[in-house]
């Protein structure tokens, strides 16, 4: 009796709160129940229309019902709410996604009738739409490369269309991916940081520098002072990417500097020689810093007070770090200014510690003097001792 009562109340409550679609579509119902839309009481009929209270298919799929099989409808459907500032204000969400989408490579291709391009649901999911902050969401910052890679990666849709598609694989080898995916540094860029989110499009020649410069501002400033800046645009070269690989961006190593010049300049050319010279500047500064580090470690074992030297070593390292963006000017003197500062600071540290360590060596020398006076004292005491003994005798 009680069981029946509970069942009845349960059924009534369910009937009052939700729609009856789940009777025939249990999977979709479960999927939807996990989504942010379900939490905000957006129900099946809000997108699909129809008569949700009906319990047979004929009645339920009547009226303004739409199955949403056509991908072309989707952006506009989502925009009904997401482009409406009045509805989105409460969630503090932007409303320009639809407008941006229409300018994107995806949006433009869709208008032209290519229905295989990405629409909202390809990135955000269909029924289980989650907030971007949710780590399970395909649009969570660390999931974005995989999400884009569904099409822009080996075996993706783009590969089917016959275009080269290894952007994801290239990206995963890059320093940016290592930072983001392995170290969890969310300051490192995923795809959308360079290509845009809803307005995703490849950057044109002349824009690459601006894009990279959003983060690497010092390098961009130096680059713009260089003869490369104008000549690359004229030659149609993709600025930063001419030396640093495309999606496979690697941390810069000074040992590869001259090698990068060979991409455009001939071996033995003036430009190549400058590259080689700059390599030497870095190598010498790096070597000096390493030496200073060893000397400090030796002093620490004595132990001497080294905190001050450690701070100055950090300063020397900072100069070397500043020399890295300066490389983009391809001016020998600009790089030399920073590497020399770094090197001379390291040499200063070494000289000072060496001075203190040689003070320690002086102790051994003083030991000789010490023993001389000590033995002299012993001799005098011995003399008086003998005298005392003789006096006694």
């Amino acid at each position: 009796m009680i069981l029946l009562l509970i069942l009845l109340t349960g059924a009534q409550l369910a009937g009052a709160q939700s729609e009856q679609c789940g009777l025939c579509h249990p999977e979709e119902r479960v999927e939807h129940s996990l989504s942010i839309h379900s939490q905000e009481f957006i129900q099946c009929s809000d997108c699909h229309g129809g008569r949700p209270a009906a319990i047979n298919e004929e009645q339920a799929h009547g009226g303004d019902f739409q199955s949403l099989q056509s991908r072309k409808q989707i952006p506009r459907l989502c925009a009904r709410c997401h482009a409406d500032p009045a509805q989105m204000r409460a969630y503090n969400l932007p409303t320009d996604q639809y407008a941006l989408y229409q300018t994107s490579g995806h949006g433009l291709a869709l208008v032209e009738g290519n229905e295989s391009v990405a629409v909202c649901t390809d990135c955000h999911g269909t029924h289980t739409i989650l907030r971007s902050e949710d780590p399970n969401s395909p649009t969570f910052i660390r999931n974005i490369p995989e999400t884009c890679g569904q099409c822009h990666g080996k075996g993706g849709l783009q590969a089917d269309a016959g275009t080269e598609a290894n952007q994801l694989q290239d990206y995963l080898e890059s320093v940016h991916a290592r930072e983001l995916l392995e170290k969890g540094n969310t300051n490192a860029p995923e795809c959308s940081r360079c290509h845009g989110i809803h307005g995703a499009a490849p950057a044109g020649v002349g824009d690459v520098g601006k894009m990279c410069g959003n983060c690497h501002s010092a390098a961009l400033r130096a680059f713009r002072d260089s003869p490369h800046a104008s000549s690359m645009v004229e030659a149609g070269l993709p600025e930063c990417l001419a030396c640093h690989a495309h999606h496979k961006t690697q941390p810069s190593r000074y040992q590869q500097m001259a090698q990068a010049c060979l991409n455009c300049h001939a071996q033995g050319s003036d430009q190549y020689v400058i590259g080689e010279k700059m390599e030497v500047l870095f190598a010498r500064a790096e070597e000096e810093l390493e030496h200073a580090r060893e000397v400090i470690a030796r002093a620490e074992r004595v132990p001497l007070y080294v905190e001050d030297y450690l701070a100055r070593l950090e300063e020397a390292r900072t100069f070397l770090l500043e020399a890295e963006p300066a490389v983009h000017t391809v001016s020998f003197s600009d790089v030399d200014r920073f590497t020399s500062l770094s090197r001379s600071l390291a040499e200063e540290i070494e000289a000072e510690i060496d001075g203190k360590l040689s003070d320690l060596r002086l102790r051994r020398l003083l030991l000789v003097v010490f023993w001389f006076y000590l033995l002299l004292t012993v001799w005098i005491l011995h003399h008086y001792r003998q005298k005392a003994l003789k006096h006694r005798a």
Partner: protein, 378 residues
């Protein structure tokens, strides 16, 4: 000269009417300054005159001098220890840092620390040498039994002093051997549980450090001082040990000559300590890392023999049994006079005892080497 000396005598006289200076002088004789007993009822001037006139053999003659050297080294340890205590802070958070400050920032701090460390090693070496001399010369026989026991206890106290001192540095090279040694100590039945009451494991290490500090600066030095007193007092009663070929004719040695020799000894020991400190400074080491046991745990050199002994037996033998065996051996060693008295009745047995002595000594050397090899093996 005469005016100042008469004024000096007047001051002495003034003090003497209030304090028994002869008693103070007699107290100094308890620590090797003077050999014969002093009549404290006489005024100081008379007592001194008597002392100066009295012909006597001297402590300060090889190899009898070893006891006096131990006293001098102990005084060096006290002076340098007091200096170090001004800067040392006995808490786990500050101990390492404070020693670092002593060595790095305080003027001559490194010097005082090195003298303190090397002095302790030298003190143990000298106490061992002294014990070996007693051991082979049979100087534990009546009437010198107590002097032997005191000498053995002096060595044990000195090693404990050194051991607690090493721990205070809060240094990774010394922390882990301490842990191993305490494990051994606690495993001894009965005695271990008594120790455990005072030092309940290394887990609550903040207590352990302060307790070790207390042991190192108060209790153990006080014990050492008492034992030194017992040592010199015993010698004054039973007489100095005989040295073969010593000229004992009266008038050969005097108190003044003895004082000069004492001064020379102090200076030479200081010279040796300074030389060791400069040429072979003890490395400073890393702070204790409680989360990583180092691969090689180096026991202090004087603990290598007990360590080797315990490790020599197969591991299925419980540690408590091995440590008990060690304690029994130590007890036999300390109470050697009593065992010897019961054993030695005939001349033939006497050579047997000497044979046993040599065997024990070789065993000690063997286990020291074994303990050392164990370290390298790990």
């Amino acid at each position: 000269m005469s005016i100042s000396s008469s004024r000096f005598l007047r001051v002495i006289d003034w003090i003497e009417r209030r304090v028994n200076l002869t008693e103070l002088f007699s107290m100094l004789t308890m620590f090797g300054l003077f050999y014969t007993e002093v009549d404290t009822s006489k005024p100081i001037a008379e007592a001194l005159r008597e002392a100066f006139r009295k012909p006597m053999p001297s402590y300060s003659r090889w190899p009898r001098v070893l006891g006096l050297l131990a006293l001098i080294l102990f005084l060096f340890e006290v002076v340098t220890g007091v200096l170090l205590a001004f800067y040392y802070r006995p808490t786990p958070d500050e101990a390492y840092e404070s020693v670092l400050i002593i060595v790095r920032d305080v003027d001559f701090g490194w010097f005082v620390r090195q003298i303190h460390i090397w002095g302790a090693q030298l003190l143990i070496v000298i106490l061992i040498a002294r014990l070996l001399r007693f051991f082979f010369r049979g100087m534990y026989r009546p009437p010198r039994e107590l002097i032997w026991v005191v000498a053995a206890l002096l060595l044990i106290t000195a090693t404990h002093l050194d051991f607690t001192g090493r721990f205070l540095a809060w240094n990774n090279d010394f922390y882990w051997p301490s842990l191993r040694a305490m494990e051994l100590l606690f495993s001894i039945p009965l005695i271990g549980s008594i120790f455990e009451f005072f030092i309940p494991g290394l887990e609550g290490h903040s207590y352990v450090l302060s307790r070790f500090y207390f042991l190192h600066v108060v209790l153990l030095p006080f014990m050492f001082w008492l034992l030194l007193y017992a040592n010199f007092s015993g010698i004054r009663r039973v007489g100095l040990s005989e040295i073969r070929g010593e000229d004992t004719t009266p008038g050969k040695h005097t108190f003044v000559a003895h004082l000069y020799t004492l001064l020379i000894l102090v200076i030479v020991i200081f010279g040796i300590l300074v030389t060791l400190s400069v040429l072979a400074p003890v490395p400073f080491g890393e702070p204790v890392n409680l989360f990583e046991t180092p691969s090689d745990i180096r026991m202090p050199w004087y603990l290598l023999a007990p360590y080797g002994f315990v490790e020599f037996f197969p591991t299925w033998l419980p540690l408590s049994l091995r440590s008990s065996l060690l304690v029994i051996l130590l007890a036999i060693f300390i109470f050697l006079p009593e065992i010897d008295r019961r054993a030695v009745k005939t001349h033939a047995r006497r050579t047997l005892v000497l044979g046993v002595n040599i065997f024990l000594f070789l065993l000690w050397i063997f286990f020291t080497i074994y303990g050392r090899v164990l370290d390298i093996g790990e």
